[in-house]
């Protein structure tokens, strides 16, 4: 493999990685606060994509307005899911909530099939993201430059909210000990709802950029990005937003380089993600920069 070709593959890996990262951040946030693996995250992503699609195709909104609308409505969906499905189980064993999350995931997928139909739809990529930058043999889509930038901005915003605001302090406190926090006069339900709103809005944003990069959407589109984002989140240290970004990048690079360097192993691409998951759980269960869970 030549130098420029390798460099091109590195860029391809980082592009894919930053999409995984964007989705993983929302995933890991909900886990960090609630210790709940929200398997419906990928399906909220799907719902967000359809909302944006309807916004652009039916209401002729500009892409940014459709994105904002998708994030807002996905946030609402996230809050409704929390209120309807997870809140009644707050005191139940963790496994009950996990199984409920899987149930919600199936519900959203099949609801999507009924409401949106099984046929995939073409997603529109706005002009801003459709330029191609070329340096010699290297070619980069402008979307691939924007996604890491947007991911970094969102990450910075989240870190600020979590570590520098009163709400963020409440979130961190809830993640430590929910019942004690209630005694301190904090409305935990409000904090959890806010977490779901933020996480779901991020899922919608991740989904819309995913759909701009791979421009077809269908009701089952959230399954694989959701699973990959879960792997990325665990890889980086689940519950840690910076770790999610790191995990996403590593996963994206690993997948692309596997296919680029060992073409005959391309069929094992998804397997690689899960082998990485198993390896990290065996060797370092807290992830690359995850903190030790309090006893």
């Amino acid at each position: 493999m030549t130098g420029p070709e390798f460099l091109q593959q590195l860029i391809n890996g980082l592009t894919l990685g930053s999409l995984y990262a964007l989705i993983a951040i929302g995933y890991t946030m909900v886990y960090g606060i609630l210790r709940l693996i929200n398997f419906a995250h990928g399906d909220v992503l799907m719902a967000g994509c359809y909302i944006a699609w309807y916004g652009v195709v039916m209401f002729h909104l500009p892409w940014w307005a459709a994105l904002a609308g998708a994030m807002a409505l996905a946030a609402l969906l996230g809050v409704l899911i929390d209120q309807g499905a997870y809140r009644p189980l707050r005191q139940a064993p963790r496994i009950s909530a996990l199984i409920t999350a899987i149930g919600i995931s199936f519900l959203l997928e099949n609801l999507g099939l009924v409401v949106f139909g099984g046929r995939p739809k073409a997603f529109v990529r706005p002009e801003v993201f459709n330029h191609i930058y070329q340096w010699g043999e290297l070619r980069v889509l402008s979307l691939s430059v924007w996604v890491p930038v947007i991911t970094a901005v969102i990450l910075a915003g989240l870190v600020f909210v979590i570590y520098r605001t009163r709400t963020g302090m409440a979130m961190r406190a809830v993640s430590r000990d929910m019942s004690t926090v209630q005694l301190m006069g904090i409305d935990t339900n409000r904090v959890v709802a806010l977490t779901f709103a933020l996480g779901s809005a991020l899922a919608a944003a991740g989904g819309v950029f995913w759909a701009m990069k791979y421009p077809q959407i269908n009701p089952l589109m959230g399954v694989l990005p959701g699973l990959k984002a879960f792997v990325a989140a665990v890889l980086g240290g689940i519950g840690n937003v910076v770790g999610a970004m790191l995990g996403g990048m590593i996963l994206g690079l690993a997948e692309i380089l596997l296919v680029a360097l060992l073409p005959e192993m391309a069929g094992y691409r998804d397997a690689l993600a899960f082998v990485l998951l198993i390896a990290i759980l065996l060797l370092r269960p807290t992830g690359i920069i995850g903190e030790e869970l309090p006893e």
Partner: protein
């Protein structure tokens, strides 16, 4: 008075004899197709063809035909359970479908075991019917399709080198690529790279990067929707300028919608095009399809139409719904002038012409017909 009573009695006695013919009920034909899932665009097109055929010929053996459509959700496991359901619960006489080779290989053994004829109109992998007594197909098989594509690449495109990009999870894609390779190499061409991808992949930058560095004359892509338009879009974004050559799965409205400008120039081998229609049935079908759906007819629907008609002709010839008689009639299908041209069943596979299409100005345009 007595006479009137007698007439009434006779009428009453005779009355049950009239509905007796309809007590046998409709002839049930099961249809297994991907109505949802990634292969839905093909399934919907195929079903349009079957429904049109059903409108044109709604009876056989003097009984109405009832279509029972089962959705296999583009999935192998769902296909075999759909076959089970149609056979055990609905007691269908014949099954039409499924569509892809992989799903037909899943449903075929179920029908074989139950002794119910299963006729696919679309599964082109040769293994589908191998060693089966009850499994048939009404489309050509991939050794032929691969050869047509290879010869077209060598002669008409003047290609000397080719890259292949194969969906490793589909029997159709793997098989078709192997037959293309055999014919392309036999014709003096060289395969410079063989890249693989999976059914759930959405990012192909690694494979396309490797292909770009080998600079082939043509890229053979025996892929399915939805990956196919994504692959071609990403290839054009990465600066690959080579022509893409696909198989019969490269024809679907969504390929054009999602591929947009990028799929211009895509060429493919398939079963039918209205401009190349040689038979009266083909011309009649094209007109009827246009009148009903207000768009150009595609190959999947044409195959659906032919499959239904071949199955009905076999039932009529068998004179009953006994599976073995239908099988014998299907095996003896010769010179069937269908929508897709002259069709002969050899063994359990069909021998019939292929057409080559090209995407131009957002439409599939007829290039040529290749006789078997």
């Amino acid at each position: 008075m007595r006479r009137i009573l007698l007439i009434i009695t006779v009428l009453l006695l005779a009355a049950p004899a009239v509905p007796a013919a309809t007590v046998a009920g409709p002839v049930k034909i099961g249809v297994i197709l991907p109505i949802t899932g990634p292969a839905a665009p093909y399934g919907e097109a195929a079903l349009q063809g079957i429904r049109l055929a059903h409108e044109h010929q709604p009876t056989v053996l003097g009984r109405p035909v009832k279509l029972l459509v089962a959705d296999n959700r583009s999935d192998k496991i769902e296909s075999s359970s759909a076959a089970n359901r149609l056979i055990q619960r609905d007691k269908v006489a014949v099954i039409i479908g499924p569509l892809s080779s992989s799903t037909t290989m899943a449903a075929g053994p179920v029908a074989e075991k139950a002794g119910v004829p299963l006729v696919t109109g679309w599964a082109t992998n040769p293994v589908v019917t191998r060693g089966k007594k009850y499994v048939f197909r009404t489309c050509f098989i991939d050794p032929f399709q691969g050869r047509v594509a290879a010869n077209f690449a060598l002669r008409d495109l003047g290609a000397k080198t080719a890259a292949m990009l194969i969906d490793n999870s589909r029997d159709y894609s793997v098989g078709l690529a192997a037959f293309f390779q055999r014919a392309f190499v036999a014709g003096g061409g060289k395969i410079v790279i063989k890249s693989l991808y999976g059914a759930h992949d959405q990012d192909f930058s690694a494979q396309l990067g490797a292909i770009k560095s080998k600079n082939p004359d043509v890229i053979y892509l025996p892929g399915y929707f939805p990956q196919l338009p994504l692959i071609i879009r990403q290839a054009r974004e990465m600066g690959l300028k080579q022509p893409f050559l696909g198989g019969d799965a490269a024809q679907a409205d969504e390929v054009l919608k999602i591929g947009g400008q990028a799929v211009e120039g895509l060429m493919l081998t398939t079963h039918f095009d209205e401009s190349g229609a040689t038979t009266a049935a083909g011309k009649r079908y094209a007109a009827a399809y246009r009148a009903k759906h207000k768009k150009a007819p595609d190959a999947m629907g044409a195959l659906g139409y032919d499959t239904y008609m071949i199955v009905l002709a076999a039932i009529a010839k068998a004179g009953s719904l006994q599976a073995d008689k239908i099988v014998a009639a299907l095996e003896a299908t010769q010179g069937f002038a269908g929508v897709c041209g002259m069709t002969n069943i050899h063994g359990h596979d069909a021998v019939k012409p292929a057409v080559i299409l090209k995407v131009k100005d957002g439409k599939y345009v007829y290039v040529t017909t290749v006789e078997p």
